[in-house]
């Protein structure tokens, strides 16, 4: 297990460090400011904080000393002439995903944003450029739209560790796109997904993959917690198969995490439904599959089982080794040392949690 938990919350960045058998508060930064994503780059240990100031816009900061000092860098900016669907000028409204670009590209970073732009940096994050090929993809004008937010957003970036010019993005709402040339060209990968909210649920575009991840131990196995269920692909996104429970809680939700050592073991954080976004029957539950989604086990030991309204946002469920951690919309942070069999509370009094990441 990596010994740091990096949290992006509605009221700042928080870091916990595991020491002497306990999770201890290590750092708080940007108190009072919404942090849409807190991200530790595993290549160099740099911490990134994407801020969503209510008044002053989206900002990006980095720290090379575990949050002791922060440096503001230029936030991703849409070029003059870029427009959103209604013809209005495009401007960054939210940073929804941060990913390093791979060990072969030591200075590359990717950012996903609302209103739908993917940005790349080739200079370690000193500057970011809009990836025009995706922004100008012919599907965007008619096939992309907002889901939960007014404009479409890129919340997932998956870089293939075997070939770091090979990547995927997840867009809500549009679906999954794959590039095999470092973002020069893009192909939709939505075959087998279902968009129940569209007139044609099998539409090529317009899907809502709440979060997209690839298995560390076999990146051809990909998972997504979609608005319309849990889907898995065993062929690198070519085809998706629904793995939701028919009669159990593992169905609707936002987050998914895959075991580092087993592509068929995954956790989800079920919520009641699209229409009722709270814990099911007032009880918090994490569900885990050990068999690629054929069956799901409910994990409740140590989680509140009455009077609970918590749900888990898309970036707020993570795993490292045998440990699993998640943070909730009502500010509860839980960690399991044994793959979800038992849970312990780390803090009941955090702000709403946007992101949870294990880091060195």
């Amino acid at each position: 297990m990596k010994p740091t938990l990096l949290l992006g919350t509605r009221k700042g960045l928080v870091a916990y460090r595991y020491s002497n058998g306990h999770w201890q508060l290590e750092n708080t930064s940007f108190e009072g400011v919404p942090v849409s994503i807190a991200y530790a780059d595993p290549r160099n240990g740099t911490w990134w904080a994407a801020l969503d100031h209510g008044h002053w816009g989206v900002k990006l900061h980095r720290s090379t000393d575990r949050g002791a000092n922060w440096e503001e860098v230029a936030a991703p900016a849409y070029p003059e002439g870029a427009t959103v669907k209604d013809g209005a000028p495009a401007a960054t409204r939210y940073i929804w995903a941060i990913s390093h670009g791979g060990r072969a590209h030591a200075s590359r970073l990717w950012l996903g944003t609302d209103p739908g732009g993917l940005f790349v940096s080739e200079d370690g994050g000193n500057s970011f450029q809009l990836v025009e090929s995706l922004w100008n993809h012919p599907s965007r004008p008619a096939g992309w739209f907002g889901g939960g937010r007014d404009q479409p957003g890129i919340h997932s970036i998956v870089v293939d560790p075997r070939n770091e010019d090979h990547l995927y993005v997840g867009v809500s709402c549009a679906g999954v796109f794959e590039s095999i040339d470092a973002g020069k060209t893009w192909m939709p990968r939505n075959n087998g997904l279902r968009a129940d909210f569209l007139p044609d649920p099998a539409s090529e575009y317009g899907h809502d993959p709440h979060i997209l991840v690839a298995a560390t131990s076999n990146p051809d196995v990909m998972w997504q917690q979609n608005h319309c269920g849990i889907f898995c692909s065993i062929d690198a996104g070519e085809n998706w198969t629904e793995m939701s429970e028919q009669d159990g809680p593992a169905r609707f939700g936002f987050a998914i995490a895959v075991a580092e050592d087993n592509p068929g073991q995954a956790w989800v954080a079920p919520a009641d439904s699209d229409a009722i976004r709270v814990a099911i029957n007032g009880a918090l539950c994490i569900s885990r599959t050990d068999d690629g989604g054929k069956t799901w086990k409910q994990l409740r030991n140590g989680l509140p089982q009455q009077g609970c309204f918590d749900i888990v946002y898309r970036h707020a469920l993570a795993t490292s080794g045998d440990a699993v951690a998640f943070g909730t919309t009502t500010g509860n942070l839980f960690v399991s040392p044994d793959r979800g069999e038992n849970w312990q509370v780390i803090n009941n009094y955090l702000p709403m949690l946007h992101s949870v990441q294990f880091a060195d």
């Binding site: 008044h55 816009g57 900002k59 503001e72 230029a74 401007a91 960054t92």
Partner: protein, 90 residues
Amino acid sequence: MPTVKFTRALRRFFPTLQDTPAEACTLTQVLDEMDEHYPGVKTYLLDEQGRLRRHVNIFVDGNMIVDRDTLGDALHEGSEVYIIQALSGG
């Protein structure tokens, strides 16, 4: 010569902010000047397309500006430009 006054909330990010005289005679140029005094402050007030951010207000001589997209409101010799935040909570 216009004078620019800033909300105290911005001092968290720009600790040296103070009432600052400007040479320019348009609002856009005044903000460019302020960005030279306080590098980066413009990105806190305007988005990348030059529009005033939704929860930021600018008053010129007591009147809220009208042109939030291109900042075409007139300035005069001796104008006072107040940059404030809209109130919102949670």
